[in-house]
């Protein structure tokens, strides 16, 4: 892969991830995901527990479909919704990378703290002539 291709790939991954995060930012949509994570379901089944119109729930479902988190297929006359777990793996990946990043930075922060304490113990006289 060339560098430009790699960058395009990273950009589109980032855009997908943003769409997924935006989709997940709403409590109704997260509840829909939770419902579908138990099993696939018809649109009407998904809408049933919510105290809102079918139309309002459908709007949320469309946002989830656009983000790639939810997929729709037809079984006879029914529209069946299911979760695309791959899109959520990317979210998992971001969470994992971010956690690792901060764990490593905090390790470095603690190393520096130990270094600074050691410097401090050397005493003021040394520091006046110190290397920094």
């Amino acid at each position: 892969m060339t560098e430009i291709e790699a960058r395009k790939e990273a950009a589109s991954r980032s855009a997908r991830l943003d769409a997924v995060f935006a989709a997940l930012a709403d409590p109704t949509r997260r509840a829909i995901i939770e419902r579908l994570s138990r099993s696939e379901a018809r649109v009407t089944e998904v809408a049933e527990p919510f105290n809102m119109s079918l139309n309002a729930v459908s709007k949320h479902i469309r946002v989830l479909e656009a983000s790639g988190v939810v997929e729709r297929h037809r079984k006879g006359r029914d529209h069946i919704l299911s979760i695309n777990t791959r899109s959520l793996d990317e979210v998992d990946g971001w969470i994992e990378r971010t956690r690792r990043y901060w764990e490593q930075r905090l390790d470095a922060m603690e190393r520096l703290l130990r270094e600074l304490k050691k410097d401090h113990k050397l005493g003021r006289k040394d520091r006046r002539h110190g290397s920094r």
């Binding site: 995060f21 109704t28 997260r30 939770e34 777990t85 969470i95 971010t98 930075r105 905090l106 603690e110």
Partner: protein, 152 residues
């Protein structure tokens, strides 16, 4: 189980907690003084030069530029809340976030000679940060992991 959590302003959140052998003031300075920031914040071991600048006030900007002979990377953001030595909130944009704006909150709780550092990194900034978000989110992912293993 997740239903109860879904009413809050939850977004996927990363939270890291650590007990550090230092005072909250010492730690706060490590996060906000450019000459100290450059000594631990850069994740690139090959970076030969690291420069930091910060305007430490709400609305003020900071940046950390790490350069090697081949390339240069930058992390930057804006301070949202500056409350030395308890709390620091700032937006964060850089290679880790795919150059998308995110929100980082660093809270420092003194525990005798030590300090509990709680870092929260959110992909989407939300006005309210409620304890327990990560768990609600983790539950969703657990459900999905179960769903996925059933599928394959």
């Amino acid at each position: 189980m997740v239903r109860g959590d879904t009413t809050g302003p939850t977004v996927p959140t990363v939270q890291v907690r650590r007990r550090v052998r230092a005072t909250a003031e010492q730690i706060f300075d490590l996060w906000t003084k450019p000459d100290l920031m450059v000594r631990w914040m850069s994740p690139y071991p090959g970076a030969v030069d690291c420069k930091a600048s910060c305007d430490l006030r709400p609305g003020g900007a900071f940046s950390l530029v790490m350069s090697s002979e081949q390339s240069s990377r930058e992390v930057s953001g804006t301070y949202v809340e500056v409350d030395r030595p308890r709390k620091l909130v700032f937006t964060w944009i850089g290679p880790l976030t795919n150059n998308v704006n995110t929100l980082v909150t660093v809270e420092l709780h003194p525990r005798g000679d030590e300090t509990d550092l709680v870092l929260t990194h959110e992909r989407l900034p939300t006005p309210a940060i409620v304890e327990g978000h990560t768990r609600g989110w983790a539950n969703i992912l657990d459900h999905l992991a179960d769903a996925a293993s059933k599928d394959f």
